[in-house]
């Protein structure tokens, strides 16, 4: 039935937003983990969501298919933040400790945007559900 497809589309959108929230949470959790300056351990992550897998993928999937969003998590490549703290056990020869280059403001904005987008997906799914249930009321005598 066609409402199942709408549900699957909304579910794919919700999965993308969940991944964004999880990635932002991981970045925030790792924001203040110290690492020695010469061997950085954690890279801030970013979520890359793409709409479809190119022209070839669309041709292979056929006309009836819906291009669902696919999501990958990649290191963002932001350089580590160096803090001068000579007493720290992980400080290097010059007294610097490296922290991941996480931008808390950016992560908070990501969280807010993901929340709103998730709510939008839930609203779309609820609308499809309401339509399906309303359809079943056709011809109800009471």
């Amino acid at each position: 039935m066609d409402y199942l497809q709408t549900f699957a589309i909304s579910a794919a959108g919700m999965a993308v937003e969940r991944t964004r929230v999880e990635t932002a949470a991981l970045n925030l959790a790792q924001a203040h983990t110290a690492q020695s300056a010469d061997q950085p351990a954690f890279q801030p992550l970013r979520v890359v969501a793409t709409g479809a897998e190119g022209f070839g993928g669309l041709v292979r999937a056929g006309l009836e298919s819906v291009p669902l969003p696919s999501v990958t998590v990649e290191p963002s490549g932001v350089p580590a933040r160096l803090v001068h703290d000579p007493g720290h056990p992980l400080a290097d020869g010059r007294g610097f400790v490296a922290y991941p280059g996480v931008d808390p403001a950016r992560e908070m904005v990501t969280l807010l945007g993901a929340t709103r987008a998730y709510e939008a997906n839930v609203a779309a799914m609820n609308t499809a559900r309401t339509l399906a249930l309303k359809t079943l009321e056709i011809g109800r005598s009471t």
Binding site: F7, S10, A11, A15, M125, A132, L136, R140
Partner: protein
């Protein structure tokens, strides 16, 4: 009244007369109504059982994606409602037959 201004509309596909849907499979040669009913019942039952298994998984603490579980719950609800409506129609038709004067 002159309809020259809207004559061009007839050339568009959007206002073409609807094509009657083809019954597939043919109701005369395909499976009987009772067969279809029991098939549909089995399908709905299977969906409810799947949802129940998912709920049990959630209850024992397995990592189930919550939104997928909720969506499957809603799918089960709509399937059940559809089944109930079909049942109501069948019952209504049966009672109409029963009340028929001979």
């Amino acid at each position: 009244m002159s309809t020259d201004a809207i004559q061009g509309l007839a050339q568009h596909d959007e206002v073409a007369p609807p094509i009657a849907p083809r019954m597939d499979p043919d109701p005369l040669t395909g499976p009987s109504f009772a067969q279809r009913m029991s098939d549909g019942l089995r399908e709905v039952n299977q969906q409810l059982l799947t949802t129940q298994v998912d709920l049990q998984k959630l209850a024992v603490g397995e990592p189930v994606p919550l939104h997928e579980l909720m969506i499957r719950l809603e799918e089960s609800r709509i399937s059940l409602q559809l089944m109930l409506q079909v049942r109501n129609r069948v019952l209504e038709a049966y009672q109409d037959m029963l009340r028929m004067q001979v």
